[in-house]
C-alpha cells in the first residue's frame, strides 16, 4: 500500500499507525506459535530459552523431545487415534454432507429450511450440550468408549461445515449443465461423477478440511465419549500439560503447525487448479 503523493501529514501518520497496529495484531496472534518452534529444540526440560540457546550454542539445541515423541507409546497411540478418527469422520461427513447439500439444493426438496437447520445445529448448539447428550445416548446403545462412537460424534460435528461449503459452491452451479448431460445420454450416476462432482470439488475439499480440523482438535466430545483406548492428540496434550510438564508437547505442537501448513497449501493449490478448470481465470 503506497502512500499517494497528495497525502496530508495526518494521513501519513495514520498510515504508519495503521501498519503498526496490523503488525501488533500479527505479533499477538502468531508470536506464541513462532516461539514454540525454537523452544521445541530445547535440550533442557524447560519451557524457557536457556542461555546456550540465546547464544546459538549447538549444545543448547537437541532433538530429544522429538525423539521422546516418536518413542512414547502414549503419544504415538494418541496421534494414531487422532488420524483414524479424523480420517474416518471426515470421510463420512464429506460424503453425507455433500449428498445432503445436493439434496437440499434440489427444487423438489420439501421442508428445506427445517432440515437444513437440523443438520447445521451441531455447529450452533454449545458443544458441551451436544457432548453430554451424545454421551447419554451413546451409553444406552453401547457406543460410548468405542471408536465408532467417537467417529460418529465427530461426523455429526463435521457435517455442517461440508453442507455449508458445498451449498455455497452449488449456489453458483448452473443446473442446466445437469440437463445438458442427461440430454447427451449420461445417466444420473455418470452425470454426478463427470459433471456435478468435478465442479463442486472446491466446496467439497474445503468442507472436508474443516471437518478434519474440527475432529483433529476436538476435546470436549472426546472427553465425554472416548475411553482410555480412544485417547486423541488434544486429550494427550491436555493431560501432558497437567500431569507431566514436558517439552515433548512443544515438539508435537511444532509438528502440528507443519501439518496444518501442509494442509492449507494443498488446499490452496487444489482451489487454484479447480478455478483454472472451471475457466474462471483463463491462463
Amino acid at each position: 500500500m503506497a502512500i499517494p503523493s497528495y497525502a496530508t501529514r495526518g494521513e501519513r501518520i495514520w498510515h504508519y499507525l495503521f501498519l503498526g497496529i496490523c503488525g501488533l495484531v500479527f505479533l499477538f496472534l502468531i508470536g506464541p506459535l513462532l516461539v514454540i518452534i525454537p523452544l521445541s529444540f530445547n535440550s533442557q526440560p524447560y519451557f524457557t530459552f536457556s542461555k546456550e540457546m540465546l547464544t546459538f550454542d549447538p549444545a543448547g539445541y537437541s532433538l530429544r523431545w522429538y525423539h521422546d515423541f516418536f518413542t512414547s507409546s502414549a503419544w504415538l497411540n494418541a496421534i494414531k487415534n487422532s488420524f483414524i478418527i479424523g480420517i474416518a469422520s471426515t470421510f463420512l461427513a464429506t460424503v453425507l454432507g455433500t449428498v445432503a447439500a445436493l439434496g437440499l439444493s434440489s427444487r423438489y426438496m420439501p421442508a428445506r429450511g427445517v432440515i437444513m437447520a437440523l443438520l447445521i445445529s451441531p455447529m450452533i448448539v454449545p458443544l458441551i450440550i451436544s457432548a453430554a447428550a451424545m454421551f447419554f445416548f451413546f451409553s444406552k446403545v453401547n457406543l460410548a468408549q468405542t471408536y465408532v462412537g467417537v467417529i460418529l460424534a465427530h461426523t455429526a460435528l463435521g457435517i455442517p461445515f461440508v453442507i455449508i461449503t458445498v451449498t455455497a459452491t452449488l449456489s453458483s452451479f448452473d443446473t442446466t449443465l445437469i440437463r445438458a448431460a442427461h440430454s447427451l445420454g449420461a445417466n444420473p450416476t455418470r452425470t454426478f461423477f463427470k459433471v456435478v462432482l468435478p465442479l463442486v470439488t472446491p466446496g467439497v475439499v474445503s468442507g472436508a478440511l474443516f471437518a478434519f480440523i474440527t475432529s483433529f482438535d476436538e476435546v470436549v466430545v472426546v472427553l465425554f465419549i472416548a475411553g482410555p483406548e480412544q485417547r486423541t492428540m488434544p486429550i494427550q496434550m491436555w493431560s501432558g500439560i497437567r500431569e507431566q510438564i514436558s517439552p515433548t508437547i512443544l515438539a508435537v505442537a511444532t509438528l502440528l503447525v507443519l501439518l496444518s501448513m501442509l494442509l492449507l497449501t494443498t488446499l490452496e493449490l487444489l482451489r487454484r487448479r479447480s478455478e483454472r478448470l472451471r475457466g474462471v481465470t483463463p491462463e
Binding site: 442427461h182 440430454s183 452425470t191 468435478p198
Partner: protein, 393 residues
Amino acid sequence: MLTLAQRDFYRGMCMNETLADAGEARAATSETPLSFARFVNVQKSYDGVELVVKDFNLDIRKGEFVTLLGPSGSGKTTCLMMMAGFETPTHGEILLKDEPISGLPPHKRGIGMVFQNYALFPHMTVAENLAFPLEVRHLSKAEIKEKVAKALAMVRLEEFGDRRPAQLSGGQQQRVALARALVFEPELVLMDEPLGALDKNLREEMQYEIKRIHARLGVTMIYVTHDQTEALTMSDRIAVFNDGIVQQLASPDELYERPENAFVAYFIGENNRLQGEVTERIGDNCKVRLDSGDTVVAKAVAVSGAGTRTTLSLRPERVSILRGDAAEQFENQFTATVQEVIYLGDHLRTRVSVCGNDDFILKTPNAQGYGGMRPGQQIQVGWSSADCRALDA
C-alpha cells in the same frame, strides 16, 4: 392417425402378406407417413391450478424444421422440456416415431438439445465436451476422435479443440453447443432460443449456419424463438404460440399472407388494424362498418355473420397511394391525412390518419413519384378486399 394397437396389427399384416401386397401397403403408408414427433392434447400445469400449456397438438414430419414462436412466457420452453423429458405433461401424450415416450428418462431419449445459455461443461475442453456423448455411448477412442474432428470441422472450429469454453467468444460457444448436440447423430434436435444471447450480425450468420447444417444432415429440428424474423427465415413450418395454445401452424409465407386470427396478424410482421362490425356477408367477403362510420369490404376469415365484431388486418405494403389519374381501382378507397413521413432509404414509412385510425402505416418503395409528401397533406389511399382480412375481434 392409427392407434398403437392398430399400427402393430398393421405391421403384422404386412409381414404375412405377399410381396406385392406389402408393396401396396408401403405405398399406402407413404401417402400418410407416420409422423416423427407428435404432441397429442398435451397440457401442462406447474402449480396444479393454472395451465401453462392448454391443448398442444403438433405433428412433426421427419427432417422438418419446425419453430415454436410466441411471446415470452407463452409456454414454448415448457413444451420443449416435455419433449426432452425434463418436465412431464400433466395430461396428454408425446410420441416419438409413434411410440409414447413418457416412460423414457431424458438420457434414454436420444434427443439432442441446444440450451439458451449453451450449457457447455466448463471443466472440459471443447473436444472433451464433444466427446462426452460419445463416451457415454461407449464408442472406441479412434471413433470418438474422428467424430469430434468432423463435428469441429462442421462448425468451423478445427483449431479450438483444446480450448476451454471460457476462452471462446459467445458465437464460438454457440457453435460448440450446436456441434455437441449433433455429434452423436440424434434424429431430433431441440433448440431453445439458441441465438438469444448473440448480437444481430452474429445471429444472422448463425441462422444461416444452422439452416445449412439442417439441410446437410437432414435431422428433424424443433426450434424455439420469440423473434419472428428468425422464425420466418429459418423454418419449414411455424407454430405460433400464445396463451398456452397454438394459434396457427403454417409455413412462413402462409402465416404472413393468411393469418387466421388477430393475434397471429399482430405478432407476425407489421399490420394495420381497424375495428368494426360485420353488416353483410357476400360469399367469401363481408362488408364491415368501422367504428368511424366508414364501410370496408374485407375477406371474411374468422367472422361468422352479420352483427359480429371484427378486427380488420391489413399489411402496410398492401395499401396503395392513389394518384389523380385513377388508373388503379380498389374496392376500398379513402382520403387520408399524412401525419409523419419517415425516410428509410429503400422505402418510406408514412403514418396517416384514415378511418379513425391515427397510426395507420403505409410502406411505399422509394421509387420515382412517391416522394414529396408533407405532414398535413391529404392523399387518397386504397386496398383490395383480398388483402384486408376480417379476423376475430
